[in-house]
């Protein structure tokens, strides 16, 4: 337990709150990195997922591809892309975007698929065009599952963004690596604690968002896409 006390002491050391690489700036970097990665992944995965969910086409390919992407080790990607493009944020962005795509993609298309076929049929029968069905029926009703997918992607990215520090001076992975390489267990543990806290805060925000989304869609009770990531 005294390891934790030392780590907490490290966390509260005022020296770690100023200058480059201070705790607040590392936190912000980590958060910013995570959000940008999620935006990249969403821009790719949500339209693709919506297309698959709406048309039912390309589903097998998507499943195979997500399975394959999920098996790809992030560390391997990070080092490989790192060797190609050099140090900096490019390699971490590529590696982590790939990590975030499968859950978001799955959230998007399972969100559409989980909608009662009859609801969509009825909307079509009333005279909604394909686009209207997507915007007015499928998107709102698919929201809880999409949020679930985003949530699991976020958790994975926040957690794995620690590895970005392997080739870039970014985020909460820095104290972790620095501590690891310099035998400073307090620093390493403190960095880890910060990542975990950040992950928990984001998890809390998503729990809230899910509740709000469920208020929009009162019947979509208990849809939990994130049973696994």
């Amino acid at each position: 337990m005294n390891f934790f006390i030392a780590a907490i002491a490290w966390l509260f050391d005022p020296a770690h709150y100023t200058g480059a690489g201070s705790i607040p700036s590392r936190l912000l970097e980590h958060l910013g990195f995570t959000l940008v990665t999620l935006v990249f992944a969403s821009v790719i995965a949500i339209p693709a997922g919506y297309y698959i969910g709406h048309t039912g086409r390309g589903r097998r390919v998507a499943i195979l591809l997500s399975g394959g992407l999920r098996a790809l080790p992030t560390l391997g990607l990070l080092t490989l892309v790192g060797l190609w493009v050099g140090i900096g944020l490019e390699a971490p962005y590529v590696a982590l975007t790939i990590l975030a795509i499968p859950p978001i993609l799955a959230g998007a298309y399972t969100g559409f698929e989980a909608i009662d076929r009859a609801t969509i049929d009825a909307a079509t029968a009333m005279g909604m065009s394909g686009g209207q069905v997507v915007r007015k029926v499928e998107m709102p009703l698919g929201l809880p599952l999409l949020i679930g997918g985003l949530r699991s992607a976020t958790l994975q990215v926040v957690a794995t963004a620690t590895l970005a520090a392997y080739i870039a001076d970014v985020g909460l992975g820095r104290p972790v690596f620095e501590g690891l390489k310099t035998n400073n267990y307090d620093e390493m543990l403190a960095g880890s604690i910060l990542v975990i806290l950040l992950a928990l805060v984001l998890e809390g925000i998503f729990a809230l968002a899910t509740r709000l989304a469920l208020r929009v869609v009162p019947t979509a009770s208990g849809l939990q896409p994130d049973l696994t990531r």
């Binding site: 399975g67 098996a71 391997g76 799955a106 698929e113 604690i193 990542v195 994130d226 696994t228 990531r229």
Partner: protein
């Protein structure tokens, strides 16, 4: 490609290390998550606690967990045991929810009628709940297997040998073939585990072959 042929023994050795690191967590996950998930499913009061704990645990990043675990359980940071415990924890975190959901997805009609014709509570669990939850459990275990194989590579950063060592070594020496070989071997191993689980499922659940995949199953597999 040439690198791979010359260094086949290295890749094989790391693959073996990787197997030692990943097979125990996968098996342990199943053995621990099923009873835990069952408790969560049976007793409403425990459900929230168990599932939330699982969710939070999964939010813990792997590298920090590998680092924190020794401080908690007293293993050494370089010990493979440390990694095995950590990977098992992740597996459980992921799997308890699947187990609880799988049991909840068992058709109440089938359960009720089994009770109605005189199944004892034990028979209901072993002969109805468990087999009927089987497809969803299998889907969950497939995700566990793949993510365990992938996650184990991170251990290389803290000095536990695995296929991930091919990344760190290839990175230091600037050998891309080595990194690619590591990635391919990891994916192949994941695919192999996945295929093994599917085969096991076929063997244990012959009735599955005659019916179109239940939606709960496909959902479990795809949203993972």
């Amino acid at each position: 490609m040439n690198w791979v042929w010359v260094n086949l023994d290295l890749v094989a050795g790391r693959t073996l290390d990787h197997l030692v690191l990943t097979v125990p967590p996968i098996i342990l996950t199943f053995l621990i998550a099923v009873p835990l998930g069952t408790i969560a499913h049976r007793y409403r009061a425990t459900r929230g606690v168990i599932l939330t704990a699982g969710g939070l645990l999964y939010a813990v990043p792997s590298l920090p967990l590998f680092i924190m675990l020794p401080a908690i359980v007293g293993t050494s940071i370089r010990s493979p045991l440390n990694l095995i415990i950590a990977l098992t924890l992740y597996g459980i975190a992921l799997m308890v929810r699947v187990v609880a959901d799988a049991l909840a997805s068992v058709d109440t009609g089938v359960r009720q009628s089994a009770i109605g014709v005189g199944f004892s509570p034990g028979s209901v669990f072993w002969r109805v709940d468990l087999p009927l939850a089987g497809p969803v459990l299998l889907a969950g275990m497939r995700v566990v297997a793949v993510s365990t194989v992938s996650l184990a590579t991170v251990g290389a950063v803290i000095g536990v040998q695995s296929l991930g060592s091919l990344f760190t070594d290839g990175f230091q020496r600037g050998i891309q073939e080595e990194i690619v070989a590591g990635i391919v071997a990891t994916v192949l191993l994941a695919v192999l585990f996945d295929a093994a689980l599917v085969g096991l499922g076929r063997l244990l659940m012959p009735w599955q072959r005659v019916q179109a995949g239940g939606s709960a199953v496909t959902r479990a597999r795809e949203t993972a």
